[in-house]
């Protein structure tokens, strides 16, 4: 952080920090306060909100079925995040060690698939794995299986969809922080007799921690809140917290409950950010 400034012309500060501040207050703070507010109201019979205060939504949340859903969603999000980190870190490391030119091209290569619609990509996975799809045909032809395997609508395929969807967002921040590592520092560590494993554990990992944590946040929370992926690949049978929130604002039309569930997600997020702030300055969080 820069040293406190002397009193001077406030215009630059307002011109620069002003727009973003106003935008965030108008379109983030106000809607979020509103969500918190309606979570304490009653549901209108036909969607919408009746403005009589009640704790019904939170009492509903205390129900054990919701607890089970939240637990299951957390579990899926944790697995997704863990796999994304494990797959993504070496990958990010690989890219970051290349020359700047090659690295920027490799990053581009990573982003191109994101320009195709994500639903189309999910649809492609379904086509690939469906009961009479190419994967099953290959397995049958090779004699590995005797009858088609039902891959689609299984937890495995949901996980595959989640991982391929979020992995790029885990790679980018990690790449960004690994890239900033001074090569000299790694060499110094090696010269001082540290084994590659020790160098990794004692130097690389701690110094790239902000990137790793950003990757966790950018994967874990969206994975916790997603519903298109789980809806499409899960066949609408297994519901996660994101689906349930969406349903409250959609078919089930219980906005206050949806709001209360959102507040719950906000709290989980706040907890994560709090944890992050114990390890690193939040200002250091990176995305790309």
């Amino acid at each position: 952080m820069t040293a406190p400034k002397k009193r001077r012309n406030p215009l630059p500060a307002i011109a620069q920090a002003g727009p973003v501040s106003v935008w965030m207050v108008l379109f983030v703070t106000v809607p979020m306060l509103f969500i918190i507010y309606i979570s304490f109201m009653s549901r209108g019979t036909f969607g919408g909100v009746e403005y009589t205060p009640t704790l019904t939504s939170y009492e509903t949340l205390a129900d054990v079925t919701y607890f089970a859903v939240i637990l299951k969603s957390l579990q899926v999000a944790v697995v997704t995040t863990a796999v994304c980190l494990l797959l993504g870190y070496p990958f990010a490391y690989y890219i970051a060690r290349k020359s700047a030119d090659v690295a920027s091209r490799l990053i581009m290569l990573l982003m191109i698939p994101l320009w195709t619609n994500s639903l189309m990509r999910l649809n492609a996975w379904m086509l690939l794995f469906q009961t009479n799809g190419p994967v099953n045909k290959a397995l049958l032809a090779l004699g590995i299986v005797q009858s088609p395997v039902k891959f689609i609508y299984t937890d495995g395929l949901v996980l595959l969809g989640l991982i391929t969807n979020f992995l790029p967002f885990a790679v980018l921040p990690m790449y960004s922080s690994i890239e900033k590592l001074q090569k000299a520092m790694l060499e110094a560590s090696a010269d001082l007799g540290a084994t590659p494993a020790t160098t990794f554990r004692k130097v690389t990992l701690p110094l790239t921690f902000p990137g790793i944590f950003s990757a966790i946040i950018l994967t874990f929370i969206p994975a916790l809140g997603t519903y298109t992926i789980t809806d499409m690949l899960g066949g609408g049978k297994v519901l996660y917290i994101g689906n349930i929130i969406k349903n409250q604002f959609g078919t089930i039309r219980n906005w206050p409950l949806g709001a209360a569930l959102s507040v719950l997600l906000l709290l989980i997020t706040a907890l994560l950010i709090f944890l992050y702030s114990r390890f690193a300055k939040i200002e250091d969080m990176e995305v790309l």
Binding site: L11, G18, T45, Y153, G236, K237, N243, R253, N254
Partner: protein
Amino acid sequence: MKKALSLILVLVMALTLVACGGQSATTPSGGEAAGSKELNIFMWSDYMSDDLVANFEQEYGIKVNLSYMNDNADSITKLTAGAGDGYDLIMTCDAYMESLINGGYLEQLDLSQIPNAKNINKAYWSEQNQGYCVPYLMNYIYVVYDTERCPIEITCYNDLIRPEMKGQIGSVDGARNLFPIALIALGYDPNSREESEIAEAYEWLVKYNENVVAYGSTETNMVNGTISCMLTYDGNTAEAMAQLGADNTLTVAPFTSDPVQLGFDLYVIPKGAQHMDAAYLFLNYICDAQVMADNLVENPYSCPNDAAVAAASEEYRNGPAFDFDYKTNVFFQEDVGDAITIYDKYYQMLKVG
């Protein structure tokens, strides 16, 4: 000084934003005596032929803007949030009509402006709904199975929860599509408002849920061999049968006594619609026998427009998807009023597992 400046900046920003929002909206077409030049419709995608729209545009010189919903609730969300007046026609279904009318979300229709509405079979257009909606197409929600792959013959809803059917079923989703079949299987009123009956239906659906592979995309899953039995709409069945072509081994389940659901997709004019005149022209246009008959080629759903069905192709009228003899043994989704919250609660429980 600093405070004053920031205050001014905030105000300027806010004003620009409001202006931005305002710009993108149409200028209210208050005194458009000459007739509207555009029509905004909110409906399902892939549910009306491109030719119909193009021909209407050409004939009346009105630009039709279509936008699509992903869920029946989308239109309800828009209406209840107060965004209905951005549209001139919204598609919804019969189950929501009573609430929409009572909630004051709809414009009352002047049927004298829709002379072609006489083509519509009044059996499918209840007295109270006539003032507020025009039926477009209708769907039977029935059971279809593959005679070669399905382990058993299905003749009633209770067959669907037999253990042999585990991992065989694809199904439509939604509380008001699923609960009625359970209520009928249990011998209750499909539009029951009794919590005890709905709770029993929930128990039935838990068993059903165990046999279901996936909700939605029924025809895709049928064609690619993931399921062998589906609870689905007639139009989707027609699509699946057409895709299978000569290999078609699908058949509409020969139900003997259980009634099937007949649902309607209707057009309503939301309160405050800005191009009412164009909306009336369009409603009258789609009620025309030949126009609707042509539309049925691409959208082979059941149709409440008797004159259109009479004018439709042989292929449509003899389609295997409509080859079942219990067309009159149907029930309708009725608005269940406050009991909807009971349905929602049990539907939620079903989905949470």
